[in-house]
């Protein structure tokens, strides 16, 4: 079995040599020499820098939107959760599948990393992962997993919050939201957040005040999460990048959990399925307004 690095480099070199590809996105070593960072290879030579290991945390599908209007094709190294993100973008007509080459990586799980601080601890998303194999790919590297180890405990932490009293929940979130510095890194890292102008940046109507205050922050976080309802593919980049450690995945996965229960829908699994807010069933029982 050839190493993942070599398989990715070989394919990337081949794509870039063909002339049909503008760029191949993958990972290279970060400046700490241990962790990884995104690499955009434009030439076959640059493809030699590709690596893949359990520190390749970034969801590169986030960058695909930058290539939306490009005439040439692009290649992308995608973990299973990243491939769900690609499905999301295809479903929302943001990318053309025919101009995309997906090097799917069967994932062994990603470790929690900070710059210069790789750990041996699996990330939260991997502990709650329900799909360890790429849902779409043109080339598969790595070995398919036969079962999902984590699906059962996917929402234990969400259920723990649900189990608290309303006052406790309110206190919990206000503590976190009041810490928010509104850098919008959560949005910037998100595959689903590709609006030309985010509602939070809009001046007219002014949905969210400029003032960084708990009430405004709450509106921001509520709507940010809700705009991802039925769309979040649980890559958890938002939480990873948050400089003040707001547990954003607890918001996203609450909506994912309820979306699964109410609409039997999980984002990104199949690009051809209509998202839950764009359809309905007349007789369905949803617990609200039945």
């Amino acid at each position: 079995m050839e190493s993942l690095d070599k398989q990715i480099r070989d394919k990337a070199r081949e794509l870039l040599t063909s002339g049909a590809f503008a760029c191949v996105m993958g990972y290279e070593r970060a400046t700490d020499g241990k962790t990884a960072r995104p690499l955009f290879a434009y030439t076959p030579e640059e493809a030699e820098r590709f690596v893949f290991d359990q520190y390749c945390t970034h969801n590169l599908a986030r960058y695909l939107i930058n290539w939306r209007d490009n005439k040439k094709s692009v290649g992308i190294v995608a973990k299973p959760c990243d491939t769900r993100a690609i499905n999301l973008l295809i479903n929302e007509k943001q990318i053309d599948r025919s101009k995309l080459y997906v090097i799917g990586v069967a994932c062994q799980g990603i470790m929690e990393v900070g710059w210069g601080a790789p750990t041996e601890k699996l990330e939260l998303r991997c502990n709650t992962c329900s799909e360890p194999n790429p849902v779409l790919h043109d080339l598969l590297v790595g070995e398919f997993k036969s079962e999902s180890p984590a699906a059962a405990k996917a929402y234990a932490d969400v259920a723990a919050i649900e189990g608290k009293s309303a006052e406790e929940r309110d206190g919990f979130w206000q503590e976190h939201f009041s810490r928010c510095i509104r850098c919008y890194a959560c949005r910037q890292s998100c595959v689903g957040c590709y609006c030309q102008e985010c509602f939070v940046d809009e001046l007219d109507p002014l949905w969210v005040g400029i003032k960084v205050a708990p009430a405004e922050n709450t509106v921001w976080h509520t709507i940010r999460a809700f705009h991802l309802a039925g769309r979040c593919i649980s890559c958890n980049e938002c939480e990873r990048v948050c400089p003040v450690d707001i547990p954003l995945s607890l918001l996203n996965r609450k909506l994912e959990k309820d979306g699964l229960e109410l609409f039997q829908f999980q984002a990104g699994m199949d690009a051809s399925v209509t998202p839950p807010f764009a359809t309905f069933k007349k007789g369905e029982k949803l617990g609200t307004g039945d």
Binding site: Y194, Q196, F277
Partner: protein, 666 residues
């Protein structure tokens, strides 16, 4: 700069008796943008309206809030006042302080006043964000398309044409007339179907405003009310209808015989034929499947092994006017229409799926429509009721109702509405044809809603001696020359066995073939049985969700002739009303898309109930949504699902609604 005037109506004591008008005026004067606040005894009265106009002019107001009764009452009245005062009518908001305040909170005047002030504040906040709106006027094509030329379509076409508008009537079959042409007599009057239908058919053919396109199908529909672009395929008859005189020599001499569809498979027709003698137009068509010359032509290029078909062409040789045109091809007609009436009718349930009734294998188990053809003197049996197996006259006839109706297991849970009545009619006609006949009817319920219907059904039993047995048939099988009908009489609670000479199945009504496809072509919705959906089951029975497209007759659901005629007329009336306008005025309160914000996810396209959102490609190559203002009904689903807030709904914009929310409890 907004200069807002607030007018508070006393409504006599209706409002002023509960709400403190001075307090509301005082509060209103402090609201942002308000330059004047005034009151009226009755704002809607002539003096009230004149006062509002005067205050608007004196204070150079450009926006107005009126605190009064519900906007559902007088919004329109006050809009007209705005116009008279020289303002755009959409710079007006009505604060509901009567129905939703004074009339419901009379027990606490203080709280009622506080709520009235808040409602005025909400309206002031909204009016500041109002935009001038201008209705668009678009020309319309005063030409109607009627699809389907059964009795419904015929009626609709005649009524529209009589109102003076050109109509194109499209019929899929070679002749107009539809199912009604197949019937012998009609219930409950027993008048001859052909006698009442054919004059209308002739009238259609001769009406100067009606263009008849038979043997034609609608292929594509685009556009919107007043301006539909339609593509119609005129299928090749291989007969030049301009030359043909309908003399009939061709079909009399055609050697090929095929089962006659018009006669429900009883008897035969030729390969060049008219479906029935009174066909309109009386122009035969060549059946491309069965014509010997056509088969020969198809054989020649490939020269596939096998017997070479004969070249025939007898019809061509005999035709006195050389009307046969073997070169004739399908022709596509593209035309503009202002309105479309869909009257595509129904088909009857196919009983061959029902094993217990012999599954279509027993020759003497026939359908109601087959019996109709036998009754008919121009039918396959010359008006004699004969057993298909041996041509003898049946003496014991069992009629079975609800075949393919009220049957959950076969996916037809609905009542077909007409079968009870036509079964009763057929028992009478059977008896009239042969007084020795004894009829038995198996039924679930006898449904006879309609003028003179119940009396008619009773006559079948009481005067004509039809025996009605309540219960289902469990099995029909052949025993010698007779049929054994096993069933249950559920009123007596015992099994029944009848030895019958013939069984007639009252087959139910189904959506016509291709109904769902046609609905998709026109972006109409249909139910799970493929019946088209009307805009409102009670109040808009012939309208659809698409303006300018009307539905009538059995394509919406099972209907009898009087209903179909009424619906055809109703649809025609709607078309005439539409065509009475010189220009169409579109409501300016519709959705619009900001191209710069649109991300092209097209969620709006998916949720729009009116298919009013299309896509367009911008110069930079991006695909974005675009609203067809003529189709938009302003429900506001699209702005609510639009994450980047690229879609907005005029009159209820994000800016307006957010201003209202922000004004709550100020």
């Amino acid at each position: 700069m907004a200069r807002i005037g607030v007018f508070v109506c006393h409504c006599g004591t209706n409002i002023a008796g509960v709400v403190s008008i001075p307090a509301v005026l005082e509060a209103a004067k402090k609201m942002p943008g308000v330059v004047v606040a005034a009151d009226d005894k009755y704002s809607c009265s002539d003096p009230g309206q004149a006062h509002i106009r005067a205050v608007i002019e004196q204070n150079k107001l450009n926006r107005v809030v009126i605190g009064s009764c519900s906007p559902r009452m007088h919004e329109f009245t006050f809009r007209k006042v705005m116009v008279k005062a020289g303002l755009n009518p959409y710079f007006l908001e009505v604060a509901n302080i009567r129905e939703q305040v004074s009339w419901v909170h009379s027990n606490d005047k203080e709280k009622a006043t506080a709520k009235a002030i808040d409602h005025v504040m909400i309206a002031v906040a909204k009016v500041a964000r109002d935009e001038a709106l201008f209705p668009k006027r678009v020309p319309l094509t005063k030409r109607a398309l009627v699809i389907g030329a059964g009795i419904t379509g015929i009626q609709a076409a005649l009524d529209i044409a009589s109102a003076g508008h050109p109509v194109t009537l499209v019929e899929r079959e070679a002749s107009i007339g539809g199912h009604m042409a197949q019937l012998d007599k009609t219930f409950p009057t027993l008048d001859c179907s052909a006698c009442i239908l054919t004059p209308k058919m002739v009238e259609v053919a001769q009406h100067p405003n009606i263009t008849l396109l038979t043997y034609s199908e609608v292929r594509q529909v685009s556009g919107f009310v007043g301006n539909f672009d339609v593509e119609i395929v005129k299928k090749a008859r291989k007969v030049d209808s301009k030359k043909c005189t309908g003399c009939g020599v061709c079909w009399l001499k055609c050697p090929e015989k095929v089962p006659a569809e018009f006669n429900e498979g009883l008897g035969t027709r030729e390969a060049i034929y008219v479906p029935f003698p009174q066909a309109v137009p009386l122009v035969p068509r060549v059946d491309l499947e069965n014509c010997r010359y056509i088969k020969y032509l198809e054989y020649m290029p490939g020269k596939t092994p096998g017997k070479r078909p004969m070249q025939c062409r007898i019809c061509e040789k005999l035709c006195p006017v050389q009307a046969l045109d073997w070169e004739q091809q399908d022709e596509v007609v593209k035309e503009k229409f202002g309105a479309i009436v869909v009257a595509t009718g129904y088909k009857t349930f196919d009983p061959s799926v029902c094993g217990e009734y012999g599954g279509g294998k027993l020759p003497d188990v026939i359908s109601g429509l087959q019996l109709e053809r036998m009754f008919n003197s121009s039918g396959p049996t010359g008006g004699e009721v004969l057993r298909p197996s041996d041509g003898t006259h049946p003496k014991t006839v069992v009629l079975v109702s609800c075949v393919g109706s009220r049957d959950e297991q076969r996916g037809r849970p609905y009542c077909s509405k007409i079968c009870c009545m036509y079964t009763a009619k057929q028992t009478i006609l059977l008896k009239e044809h042969d007084p020795e006949v004894q009829c038995y009817v198996f039924y679930i319920d006898i449904r006879t809603g309609g003028k003179d219907y119940e009396e008619f059904a009773r006559r079948a039993q009481e005067e004509y001696g039809a025996l009605y047995l309540r219960g289902r048939i469990s099995r029909i099988y052949e025993d010698g020359k007779q049929l054994v009908v096993l069933g249950e009489d559920s009123l007596m609670g015992r099994p029944v066995e009848i030895r019958a000479d013939m069984v007639v199945l009252a087959t139910g009504v189904e959506a016509n073939e291709g109904a769902a496809e046609l609905a998709q072509t026109m972006k109409l919705s249909h139910d799970v049985y493929d019946f088209l959906t009307e805009a409102h089951p009670k109040l808009k029975p012939v309208e659809t969700q698409t303006d300018g497209i009307l539905v009538a007759g059995a394509c919406v659901g099972p209907k009898d002739i009087p209903e179909c005629v009424a619906q055809g007329g109703a649809a025609a009336a709607k078309v005439s009303a539409l065509f009475s306008q010189e220009m169409l005025t579109s409501d300016p309160m519709v959705a619009s898309v900001d191209n710069a914000r649109c991300i092209g996810c097209l969620l709006c396209v998916q949720v729009c109930p009116y298919k009013a959102i299309d896509t367009q490609v911008l110069r930079n190559g991006r695909t974005v949504a675009v609203v067809n203002e003529s189709l938009c009904r302003a429900c506001g689903l699209c702005p609510a699902v639009c994450r980047p807030k690229a879609v907005n709904l005029r009159g209820f914009t994000n800016q307006q609604l957010l201003a209202e929310v922000n004004a709550l409890w100020q």
